[in-house]
């Protein structure tokens, strides 16, 4: 996919953060609009149809569902916008909420403009973006430490051995290309593994994941 037509919408209720991010983003990225509330976000994303929406997890307005509500509502309209969640919080339930609603990745707000641009590009290309913290959470939630390993590739509730290796390296702060070099696989394969983990994170019915989801009435 060419990168020069990457279009985004920035959704955050802090105007100073929006303008800051807008200034710091890669100049090749076109910002189509900004929104500050759930309702604005749904409207503007539907109007401008960006390839990626940079979405704050905590947003006022709507029915109080924050970023997750925006993702679900936009998905209902059939728009093909992909979502990258931005959050100051690294609390597991916050992150899991937006990921399960359909976000393709999550990144903390202290990330630099370059990091956000790179993550947005990756999300636009259909890949997943995992922060070290999210990778650590995934390892925990899928019982990797207690030795649970998926036997088949179709299993949703456990990670395969390769996925575990990839997640471990990401949790240790490795970039995708470094993960690829470390495991002697291609960067594309790394991305495939990460996307597969993302799919499991979104679809799995593991207790650790559904507990938060149920608590927040997502299911």
């Amino acid at each position: 996919m060419p990168n020069d037509d990457l279009t985004v919408v920035i959704v955050d209720d802090h105007s100073i953060f929006r303008s800051g991010l807008r200034a710091d983003l890669d100049p090749a990225i076109t910002v189509l609009g900004e929104a500050a509330t759930v309702d604005d976000a749904i409207r503007i994303v539907a109007e401008t149809r960006p390839r990626v929406a940079l979405l704050d997890v905590h947003l006022p307005g709507g029915r109080g569902g924050g970023g997750a509500e925006v993702i679900r509502e936009v998905a209902r309209t059939g728009a093909e916008t992909r979502f990258l969640a931005l959050s100051v919080s690294d609390a597991a339930d916050d992150v899991v909420r937006v990921i399960r609603a359909g976000a393709r990745g999550y990144i903390t707000k202290s990330a630099s403009g370059r990091e956000v641009s790179e993550a947005a590009r990756r999300v636009a290309d259909g890949d997943a973006v995992f922060s070290p913290r999210l990778a650590g959470f995934v390892l925990d939630a899928f019982g990797v430490v207690s030795g649970e390993t998926a036997e088949t590739t179709e299993e949703l509730d456990r990670l395969s051995a390769r996925e575990q290796e990839v997640m471990r390296l990401i949790a240790r702060g490795f970039a995708y290309r470094d993960v690829a070099a470390e495991l002697y696989i291609s960067p594309k394969t790394v991305e495939t593994h990460v996307s597969s983990v993302l799919r499991k994170l979104q679809l799995s019915s593991r207790h650790e994941l559904t507990a938060w989801a149920l608590e927040r009435k997502l299911l």
Partner: protein, 443 residues
């Protein structure tokens, strides 16, 4: 009645003398937001800890603003009017709560907005002892009197003793039920026994009288009903009180959650923005990061993690080192991180983190995985990198503090190149006792 009279709204909060210096003193450490919320309330009807008899007069005086001496005189006067004051005093004593956890808890217990309030210990024995004592005294007096040849109306005394004993048992079990100490089945048995005793006592009183007629029967049944009411009333009153206490606790809990949410949405966002704008290695970013860490700890860790927590220990190291070096640690913990970190690995980890800060700086990842009888900790930096052979022998940092320390503790340290051949990765591994293992999400 008195307890439900609403207070006139007090608008001059600023210059009104606070009648309760104790509560204003403990509000302060919990932060301004809390003081804002609780500051607009007038003192509610509570019995203070410092008491002359039951604390009713003092509590009432504080509640209404009337001087306590006036209240006490009024109570005494009322008592002279056929004991009305004493009755009222007893009623208030039974219905007003004693000053409890919020006002009296030590400030440390309320530092964290999500930490649960400590439970109030109940005193189930006091009233029971008094009632049982009266019963025993009555028995002793009756015995003594009959020995001395005084005609004792045993038909009255024995039932009276039985009634007192029954009431005492009823009171005890209700108090226990309230404090949640006892299991439900023996409590129920004792409650029934107490009720039966009271009933039998009152029936005995009437059956032993010589001339049973219709009025005796009516009075007997009425008395039994009253007795049951008397035994059950304290329980109902206390149940009601417990419910309102619970409601108050829920309100406090949601207040705390609101404050946390507000800080989360405003201050944390700003701190993140400052870090993002200032760049990871600047003083401003370090300050913002330290503040963010403090605030986060205060907001979220109260009831979920302890100081002995491995993740918390690593984050504390990180905070400490970030104060002195232009470095940003990203600490990720996986597995059973609620157990304290083994000492050897903690010391070695600290040394490795310090090395990374000193020689590499920038972003440093700390990854801890513990489980299956094994703890692994990896410190990865993106600096110039170094090989163990190149480090001169007099530089004890790596050789002594890290590798040697791990070896002595039965673990191992491995130093390799970081991601993509840049930087340094220090891997510490050690076996841990099996009972500390098992997957456990951090929060």
């Amino acid at each position: 009645m008195v307890a439900t009279v609403p207070d006139p709204p007090r608008t001059d909060i600023g210059d009104a003398p606070d009648p309760d210096p104790d509560s204003s003193a403990v509000r302060a450490p919990a932060g301004g937001a809390r003081a804002l919320i609780s500051g607009v309330q007038t003192p509610s009807l509570l019995r203070p800890r410092l008491r002359v008899v039951g604390g009713v007069c003092a509590g009432f005086a504080e509640h209404t603003g009337v001087p306590v001496s006036v209240v006490r005189s009024a109570a005494l006067l009322l008592t002279l009017c056929g004991g009305a004051g004493a009755l009222l005093y007893a009623w208030l004593w039974a219905t007003t709560p004693a000053r409890t956890e919020v006002a009296d808890a030590p400030p440390s217990a309320r530092l964290h907005p999500v930490a649960p309030a400590p439970a109030q210990p109940a005193v189930p024995g006091r009233v029971t002892e008094i009632l049982l004592g009266i019963a025993l005294l009555a028995a002793a007096a009756a015995l003594l009197a009959s020995r001395l040849g005084v005609p004792v109306p045993l038909a009255v005394v024995i039932p009276a003793i039985v009634v007192l004993a029954g009431a005492a048992m009823a009171w005890r079990q209700f108090a226990e039920l309230r404090s949640g100490v006892a299991q439900s089945s023996p409590v129920l048995v004792r409650a029934l026994a107490a009720l039966v005793l009271v009933t039998v006592g009152i029936l005995l009183f009437f059956v032993t009288s010589d001339r049973p007629d219709i009025w005796t029967v009516v009075i007997a049944s009425a008395t039994v009903l009253v007795a049951v009411a008397v035994v059950v009333a304290p329980w109902l009153v206390r149940l009601n009180r417990d419910l309102s206490e619970e409601r108050a606790a829920r309100v406090r809990e949601s207040e705390r959650a609101e404050i946390a949410a507000h800080l989360h949405d405003s201050v944390l966002q700003t701190l993140a923005l400052i870090q993002q704008k200032a760049g990871p290695s600047t003083d401003v970013a370090r300050l913002a990061r330290a503040q963010e860490r403090d605030l986060r700890d205060w907001l979220f860790t109260g009831s979920t993690t302890s100081a002995a927590d491995a993740g918390a220990a690593l984050r504390a190291f990180a905070a400490e080192i970030e104060q002195d070096f232009p470095v940003r640690f990203d600490v990720v913990t996986v597995g059973s991180v609620t157990a304290p970190l083994p000492e050897a690995i903690a010391a070695a980890a600290r040394e490795a983190m310090l090395n990374a800060a000193r020689h590499a700086g920038g972003d440093v990842s700390v990854y801890l995985e513990s489980g299956e009888g094994r703890t692994e900790l990896v410190v990865t930096d993106r600096g110039p990198g170094f090989a163990l052979e190149d480090v001169p022998a007099d530089r004890m940092g790596v050789r002594g503090s890290i590798a040697e320390r791990m070896r002595r503790a039965g673990g191992a340290a491995r130093i390799t190149s970081g991601p993509g051949g840049r930087g340094t990765s220090v891997t510490l591994t050690i076996s841990t006792p099996a009972d500390e293992t098992g997957s456990h999400a951090e929060r």
